[in-house]
């Protein structure tokens, strides 16, 4: 018997593969396109979303019985915006450098549809502990895809990983560049993010035929 019951564990593992928020639920595409041009940005965004979604799901779940259904979307938006802004202010006061790295992500987190989607679909109908697990699971699934896309875009687009030149120097013509290899600048632009994502969806569905809709 592990830490989590089988049903709870599924909340974490399901979004990683067969119910992935990006490739199956098609949520959070916008940020997956916008910030995956390098791996570091993908990782930072993933951690930030994990934090906000985990916490936000708990808050919404605690409030689920008193939220008027007519204005629930606005309430959700306020909760997530408040959380993000408070975290941003505290970071600015105590970890200024970290907040500089994160500041550009703040807007992206607030408007991330995964967060709204999970509040709406899960936290409004489930208890805090299960909502927390669902938040962590979905953001992990999101992180997984973001990191794959970020990995390929940075590697093929800039020839680097986390800023380290893994393929050699394109200007000095060392490493693979000595054999005529060139970076593909198109990888850095949004259309290639969409195509990379499409390839991931294709691979996933050809491995698991049950995911294909008729």
């Amino acid at each position: 018997m592990g830490l989590l019951s089988k049903k709870d564990a599924k909340l974490i593992t399901d979004p990683l593969a067969d119910n992935n928020p990006i490739t199956i639920q098609v949520l959070g595409i916008c940020s997956a396109l916008a910030i995956t041009a390098d791996l570091k940005a993908s990782i930072v965004m993933s951690i930030a979303v994990m934090f906000v979604l985990g916490l936000g799901n708990v808050v919404i779940s605690l409030m689920r019985n008193i939220i008027p259904s007519k204005i629930r979307i606005i309430v959700q938006l306020i909760v997530v915006a408040t959380l993000v802004i408070i975290v941003d202010i505290i970071l600015k006061a105590f970890a200024y450098e970290l907040s500089k790295t994160l500041s550009v992500f703040v807007g992206l987190i607030i408007t991330n549809c995964i967060i709204m989607g999970r509040f709406e679909a899960f936290a409004l109908a489930n208890g805090p502990w299960r909502s927390f697990l669902d938040g962590i699971g979905n953001s992990a699934g999101y992180a997984f895809i973001l990191i794959i896309v970020g990995f390929f875009r940075e590697l093929l687009g800039s020839g680097t990983l986390l800023g380290i030149k893994v393929l050699g120097d394109p200007i000095e013509k060392t490493g693979v560049y000595a054999y005529g290899y060139e970076n593909n600048g198109f990888m850095l632009l949004a259309p290639m993010a969409l195509i990379t994502l499409g390839v991931i969806i294709w691979v996933q569905r050809s491995r698991n035929k049950a995911l294909i809709e008729n």
Binding site: A34, I35, T36, A37, D38, K40, A41, V44, M45, N65, I66, I67, P68, S69, K70, I71, I74, V75, I78, T82, I85, I86, I89, I90, K92, A93, F94, Y96, S103, V104, F105, G107, E154, G157, G163, I164, I171, G185, L188, L189
Partner: protein
């Protein structure tokens, strides 16, 4: 206790309460930490100015400022004078670095206002550098920076920062590969002012030609690059009358 959450009166009540609570919470957090944040911003300014001067703790590829604990003394040690410039007159002011460029720029829209331009004089390894703050627009939000110039009016170091450029693309203006490119670059062609352009397709990716007033642009960040070029052109020009008096 079952509440009828569908009633209009409840909805209005809930919304009012929520706004009050959230508003109070945010106001409290914000005012509570205001002092630390202002202080952090002041320290950052000093770090940025020193960075442009070449006083930093960079290793091969990273951007490292002098640490927070010593930045105050380092700033006093390297920045020997601070001026406020209006036209070709320069008045010394030890707190010139606290001038808010954004507010000055806004106030200067009024033609009767004489814009105060801060300039920092740094001494490093026996040489004198003049550090000019610049500020402009990127793709999403503000971009700004500091440009260190020697007495031959050649750029010897820059620091750029931004409020919200796209991570991995426009945000690369604060990476070493972009900022280091400006070292040794001219912004005057003979006596004509040209600024420095982040140029595409000038067939000079290594930036060997330092007198062409062009550096290599970042792929996928056209508008941010154009913003940086425009910013340098606009703000260096303001200092030009004074800077020209320095060049013997």
């Amino acid at each position: 206790m079952a509440i009828n959450t569908d009633k209009n009166s409840y909805t209005v009540l809930f919304a009012t309460a929520m706004v009050l609570i959230v508003g109070a919470l945010l106001a409290f957090v914000s005012s509570n930490f205001k002092e630390q944040i202002t202080e952090n911003k002041r320290i950052e300014k000093q770090q940025n100015i020193l960075y442009a001067l070449g006083v930093n703790e960079n290793d091969e590829t990273s951007v490292e400022f002098v640490s927070k604990s010593i930045v105050g003394q380092e700033f006093k040690k390297y920045i020997t004078k601070q001026y406020v410039i209006t036209g070709t007159d320069a008045v010394e002011d030890p707190n010139a670095y606290l001038i808010d460029i954004k507010k000055e720029e806004a106030a200067a829209k009024n033609p009767s206002y004489k814009r105060r331009l801060p300039l920092f004089v740094g001494e490093k390894d026996g040489e004198t550098f003049y550090i000019v703050p610049v500020r402009g627009k990127g793709l999403w939000d503000a971009v700004w920076g500091y440009v260190a110039i020697d007495n031959q009016l050649v750029v010897q170091g820059v620091f750029f920062d931004h409020a919200g450029e796209t991570p991995g693309l426009g945000s690369n203006i604060k990476e070493r590969f972009f900022m280091d490119d400006f070292k040794g670059e001219h912004f005057l062609d003979g006596d004509t002012f040209k600024g420095i352009t982040a140029a595409k397709g000038n067939a000079d990716p290594k930036n060997n030609d330092k007198t062409d007033c062009e550096v290599d642009a970042i792929a996928g960040a056209t508008i941010t690059g154009d913003g940086v070029s425009a910013m340098l052109k606009k703000d260096l020009q303001l200092y030009l009358p004074y800077l020209k008096t320095l060049k013997q």
